[in-house]
Symmetry: C2
Subunit: 105 residues, 2 copies
DNA sequence: AATCTATTTGGCTAAATGACCAAATAGATG
DNA sequence: CATCTATTTGGTCATTTAGCCAAATAGATT
């Protein structure tokens, strides 16, 4: 079953939800459990509205869900399979890049 | 050991290398083994120069390596741990998004 | 060495992204 | 019900990204 163009695009959107330093930071923090927006704002260190937009993107891509309790909104990761991936990414990110500017050959 | 800002940025770059429909398509195709640029051009269906730039991005982020043999340059995935991740992404991408425009609460 | 072929690079433009500020909303509290 | 607090939304601007075309490169073939 070859993935349709639409399927690929939706998968890419999920990945894109993690493909930004602030959003990755958020995802990694949420691996230890849910946090409210204000916590995440402190973590990221950006304007609250900026953080909120990152969270909206992540939520709409299906990576996060949220729940309001009291005055706060708590976000958490949908999927715990992210852990393995982040370990994989970390392994890749450690490697020095072989060729900075030129193609390998 | 809390990850430094620089580390997070490099991890995000690795993820970003997969966070585009064409690049994801390339990565998935390469899970079955190496392919030359011309194959990938056919797969993606874009201008050769566009594909080449995607490949450069992926290579520089550490996700791909390449090797020239004969006239062609063959690209392959550096890490096979991507397979599990892509399965995870697929699972997330399948879920209907709970709330399209409004926050959950 | 002249030419072919595959790929990359440079330049350009349109579109998407990310940041901030200000204003709106929604629910809790007095 | 008036207000406070947490969060989202809308607007704007600068930056980045993705696409194509044309030109450069590098290695194979004649």
């Amino acid at each position: 079953m070859p993935a349709t163009k639409d399927t690929i695009t939706r998968r890419a959107a999920v990945i894109k939800a993690l493909a930004h330093p602030s959003r990755l930071l958020i995802a990694e923090a949420l691996m230890d459990g849910e946090l409210c927006v204000c916590d995440l704002k402190d973590l990221v260190g950006a304007d609250m509205s900026t953080v909120s937009k990152h969270l909206t993107l992540m939520r709409e891509s299906g990576v996060l869900v949220c729940e309001k309790r009291g005055l706060n909104i708590y976000y958490r990761l949908v999927c715990d399979c992210l852990g393995d991936f982040l370990r994989c990414v970390d392994k890749l990110a450690r490697k020095p890049v072989k060729t900075k500017t030129k193609a390998c050959c």
